[in-house]
């Protein structure tokens, strides 16, 4: 039986190289391109004929806009609207990436730690830059020393705060990557059960794991939404911290 991890294998489709770096167009890049294409298509179809009283397609696009706008409004406030385009793109990018990964024989690029880490790292850098730009380096460093804490406690708290701040990109990226990888691995394992048990017991033995596989697929779709939401909302919270500090 194929290894459940074989589905995460990167295969080069078009070999490319620049400045000594391998920039090949791989199956992961293809999946990402499909994600971008799907989002552009979704937006294009929804916004083709704009009406004041929206059509169903326009309503779907507008509801996604409203969803993100509500999320930003609740977590950051009006100042957060400057980052709307970024959070909107990020949410749709991860969501569609997760959902397209659910299609058979497709590739889930969000199950690769390097991709999720790169996104989380850029967010981390961006958020730190915003915080320093808005409040200056001194005020930003004071962020690591909680107000109203006794001085001896600061010796303990400052390193903890710094570690927790630095671990943000790791927790953010690992959360998404681990969820997607674990889900897809589980689907593959259960899929293997369906195949092997069905093949060895005149199909009957495969029925139960198949039912389980279907239920699990539903769960994975929910997780695809949930993880995209969690990623976006945590980004909002980090931006909120950067804007307002505390």
């Amino acid at each position: 039986m194929a290894s459940p991890l074989a589905q995460f294998e990167i295969k080069k489709l078009i070999e490319m190289e620049a400045f000594g770096f391998d920039l090949s167009f791989t199956n992961s890049s293809l999946a990402m391109t499909m994600t971008v294409f799907s989002i552009v298509l979704f937006m294009y179809i929804g916004l083709r004929n704009l009406e004041i009283i929206p059509s169903k397609k326009q309503s779907i696009v507008e509801s996604s806009y409203e969803f993100i706008s509500g999320m930003i409004g609740d977590n950051i406030g009006n100042e957060g609207m400057n980052y709307f385009s970024f959070i909107f793109t990020l949410f749709l990018f991860i969501l569609v990436g997760n959902l397209l990964g659910m299609l058979p024989y497709s590739f889930t690029w969000t199950s690769h730690i390097i991709v999720t880490f790169a996104i989380a790292f850029f967010i981390f850098i961006g958020v730190t830059f915003i915080a320093i730009y808005k409040h200056g380096i001194v005020k930003f460093l004071k962020f690591f020393a909680p107000i109203g804490v006794p001085k001896p406690m600061l010796i303990l708290l400052i390193p903890i705060e710094i570690i927790s701040y630095l671990s943000r990109p790791i927790s953010l990226s690992v959360r998404l990557f681990a969820n997607m990888m674990a889900g897809h691995t589980l689907l593959k394992v259960i899929g293997g059960f369906v195949f092997v048990l069905g093949a060895n017991s005149f199909i009957i033995g495969g029925i139960l794991p198949l039912a389980f596989l279907i239920a699990l697929t539903g769960l994975e779709i929910v997780i695809a939404f949930l993880q995209a939401y969690v990623f976006a909302i945590l980004t909002c919270l980090y931006i909120n911290d950067a804007i307002h500090l505390h």
């Binding site: 074989a6 294998e9 971008v36 552009v40 385009s85 793109t89 749709l92 690769h112």
Partner: protein, 186 residues
């Protein structure tokens, strides 16, 4: 059964071998890192730019337009409501004025009618009183007349009766008659 499922195994062999060769999680293989990061940055940037400069302004524009339209309808509705309220107020005011005027007119007419009625009643009463007095005086007159004439008539009648019964004439006097009547009364 194996015979039927064998082709599927063959299809999967390629992947099995690939994963077995490298082993472990493909995610941790650094060979593809540079390519993945490059395509991520490129594609995310493209999507961000398309969204930021093309799609999102469109959504913002239509939402603003919708809000403006709703606001204009709300304003118009408010204006209509205000004018309706002022009309209702005006109507109520006019209605109240008409009611007051009507009450005054009814009161005035009632008082005028009452005056006429009282006048008529007074006239009737006066007339009645006059007629009553006249009648009373007539009765008194007749009574006096009767009381004056009746003794004479009675004396004549008794004289006549006496003459017929007794066959001789008798001449009675009124004073005797009055004396008889007075004695009877006593």
């Amino acid at each position: 059964m194996l015979r039927y499922t064998f082709p599927f195994y063959l299809l999967l062999t390629d992947t099995i071998l690939a994963s077995q060769e490298k082993g472990g999680m493909p995610q941790l293989n650094p060979d593809s890192f540079s390519s993945q990061i490059f395509w991520l940055i490129l594609l995310f940037a493209v999507l961000f730019l398309i969204n930021h400069f093309f799609f999102l302004p469109k959504i913002k524009k239509i939402r603003n337009k919708r809000e403006e339209t709703i606001q204009s309808y709300l304003d118009e509705a408010k204006k209509l409501n205000d004018s309706f309220n002022s009309l209702v107020e005006k109507m109520n005011k006019e209605f109240n004025e008409a009611k007051i005027e009507q009450n005054t007119l009814i009161k005035k007419a009632f008082e005028e009618n009452k005056k006429i009625f009282d006048k008529k009643i007074l006239e009737i009463n006066n007339d009645f009183e006059e007629k009553k007095n006249k009648l009373n005086s007539d009765i008194e007159k007749n009574k006096e007349l009767i009381s004056n004439e009746l003794p004479k008539l009675c004396v004549n009648l008794s004289d006549n009766l006496y003459e017929k019964i007794m066959g001789e004439k008798n001449k009675g006097s009124v004073s005797d008659f009055k004396k008889i009547i007075r004695d009877d009364k006593q």
